[in-house]
Amino acid sequence: MSFSVGQALPVLEIASVSVEKMKVMALLLDDPNPIHFDPQAVQSLGLGNRPINQGPNSLAYVINMLMAAGGEGALITRTSVRFMANVFARDRLHAGGTVTRIDGNTITCDVWLKRGDDVIVQGNATIALPPEAT
């Protein structure tokens, strides 16, 4: 894939966020926060009625999009994001970005994760491409 400033990166879709995957992540992270697996805990905190995705899971979707754009051998050297809203079980999401700078083999992008028009995650990232990619 070649890159140019202003170029939109290919959008990645998560068709439906699975609560079962949140449960696996809770175990892998040893994360005791019940909002990721217990709908009653979410309700009692006034945060809705569906389990809430781990922030790192939501960020992972953005990084997956960047890895797909960078191709084999690319390294995501920096990712900086803010979490603007919660992702709930069964949400449909899209991750994307725009190239803002190219410096040799290094591509800098604005990145986002959206639910419809709502921005869930927003920030920027840098991809180091393998030398043969440019």
């Binding site: 949140m22 040893d30 005791p32 805990a41 905190l45 899971n57 997956n64 890895m67 920096r78």
Partner: protein
């Protein structure tokens, strides 16, 4: 009003260690909807996982430093991940962490919150830097 935790700025977390088995890499990729093309090389999010699992405290112990528990529903507000080299399965990493900042935020329509920034450095063994993670945890204190 809840206690102030600014005195914890600069607090160094116990040094911890982290190692990932092959099946954990596969399961994490599956949980993140990531490709399974090379599960021996860890997904970039494993820098964050190394910070959380290897910081020398459990998450519950970290929350307790700030008078909170997992049942309070603390959130991740921001994070920055910098990676110098790839991480791999069955490799020993060391995690160094410290409390970098504590800020109390008051809003007219939202709960009072403490924003706690924790900085981590992940090293191969205990020498070569692999990457850094900075995370801002959000602790809701009360409804105004």
């Amino acid at each position: 009003m809840t206690a102030s935790y600014e005195n914890l700025i600069g607090y160094t977390l116990p040094v911890g260690s982290y190692r990932v088995a092959l099946h954990e890499s596969w399961l994490a990729n599956d949980a993140m909807y990531a490709a399974q093309s090379d599960v021996t090389t860890l997904h970039p999010m494993f820098l964050y996982f190394a910070a959380i699992r290897g910081m020398g405290l459990t998450l519950e112990e970290l929350f307790a430093l700030f008078g909170a528990s997992a049942s309070d529903g603390p959130m991740l507000g921001e994070t920055e991940i910098s990676q110098e080299r790839s991480m791999h399965v069955d490799t020993a990493y060391t995690v160094h962490g410290k409390i970098a900042d504590v800020q109390r935020k008051h809003g007219a329509r939202v709960a009072t919150m403490d924003l706690v920034t924790v900085d981590f450095e992940i090293r191969l063994g205990d020498s070569e830097p692999v990457g850094r993670v900075g995370s801002v945890f959000v602790f809701r204190r009360q409804r105004s």
